[in-house]
């Protein structure tokens, strides 16, 4: 009789230990589980941190690039003044306007040259026309850039849906 009681209590003890073990395991896992609510909250918190982490280096890069570009532009403007001065001397008006046998690339350069060559000095260049031309060219670039931005996207099959995986 005693033996039975001892072995029964041992069994019960063993079973309860197993159950407790499982329950303990479950609790640990549940805490680790990112449910959607948790994921959303986590995401909101992460957003701030990640945004700073992701965006800051990019903005830093952007600022550096802008600074670089500014210095290049400054250099170019100085260089351009020199170039336009030399163009005025070296390129006669008739030659610039009359030459059609150049490649497209050369034609573009020539267009710029025509504006410079038509006026006797830089002050007479119509600043307004140049500004509008620059704006138009920038907008054209932006259109190309928008296409590239649209292409920088995840492929459709990389979005996870209910039936997937």
């Amino acid at each position: 009789m005693k033996k039975r009681i001892v072995s029964l209590s041992l069994l019960i003890g063993l079973a309860s230990l197993l159950l407790v073990g499982c329950t303990g395991r479950q609790v640990t896992k549940v805490i680790e589980t990112p449910t959607h609510d948790l994921a959303t909250k986590e995401m909101a918190l992460r957003d701030e941190a990640d945004e700073t982490d992701l965006i800051n280096p990019i903005e830093q890069e952007e600022t550096n690039k802008r600074a670089e570009d500014d210095s290049i532009k400054q250099y170019e403007s100085v260089e351009n003044e020199d170039t336009t001065d030399s163009l005025k001397v070296e390129v006669p008006e008739e030659v610039v306007e009359g030459d059609d046998s150049q490649t497209d690339e050369v034609n573009e350069d020539k267009e710029e040259t025509v504006i410079v060559a038509k006026s006797e000095n830089l002050e007479e260049i119509d600043e307004r026309a140049l500004m509008l031309k620059e704006l138009d060219a920038l907008l054209e670039d932006v259109l190309t850039k928008l296409d590239a931005v649209e292409e920088d996207d995840l492929s459709d099959d990389n979005l996870f849906d209910e039936g997937g995986d």
């Binding site: 159950l19 499982c22 992460r46 992701l54 509008l132 932006v142 649209e150 979005l159 209910e162």
Partner: protein
């Protein structure tokens, strides 16, 4: 006989606890999977927003280009405010363009890591990657909206050629 009955009881106990443990594991996986699906859906929605904003940007850019054609034949009627607006816009568009260069290729670069995480069934990494993409998409939408607002100001300013009312530079 007694020994056999004890053995049976033992086996039953062990099997039941194992089954309980397995059932507890399944909902956990289901919860993570549904979290992945939800985050992925958010990325999909955000993706649609980006596409729409890009479409708007494209349309507005073309409108401004058309306005510019009209202005070019009427240069004398440009007011100082309109000139200031154009000057400011040139700077802002230039920085938008340069900024776009920096961001280009960041989202598509996640394609391979998503594919790998899906193969490994690493749902936690998937959630993390999707969250990072969401941050980039939000930033992209904000930049594009800023650009669209700038174009709105330009359209408004340029369509008033000849009239000097209002300050378009703000």
């Amino acid at each position: 006989m007694r020994k056999i009955s004890w053995m049976i009881i033992m086996v039953m106990l062990i099997t039941s606890t194992t089954v309980v443990a397995q059932n507890q594991q399944r909902p956990r996986e289901n919860r993570i999977r549904s979290a992945v699906v939800m985050t992925s859906r958010e990325v999909g929605q955000s993706r649609m927003v980006v596409k729409n904003v890009i479409r708007t940007s494209r349309e507005k850019t073309k409108i401004v280009q058309e306005e510019l054609k009209g202005v070019q034949s009427n240069l004398d009627s440009l007011t100082p405010e309109q000139l200031a607006l154009i000057k400011k816009s040139i700077q802002e568009i230039r920085s938008f363009k340069e900024g776009s260069d920096v961001y280009l290729g960041r989202i598509i670069a996640y394609d391979s890591s998503i594919r790998k995480a899906r193969e490994d069934k690493d749902y936690e990494t998937l959630i993390q990657v999707y969250n990072e993409i969401l941050v980039l998409q939000k930033h992209r939408i904000k930049r594009l909206n800023d650009y669209n607002n700038l174009l709105d100001r330009l359209i408004k300013g340029l369509s008033n050629i000849g009239g000097s009312d209002g300050d378009f530079t703000s």
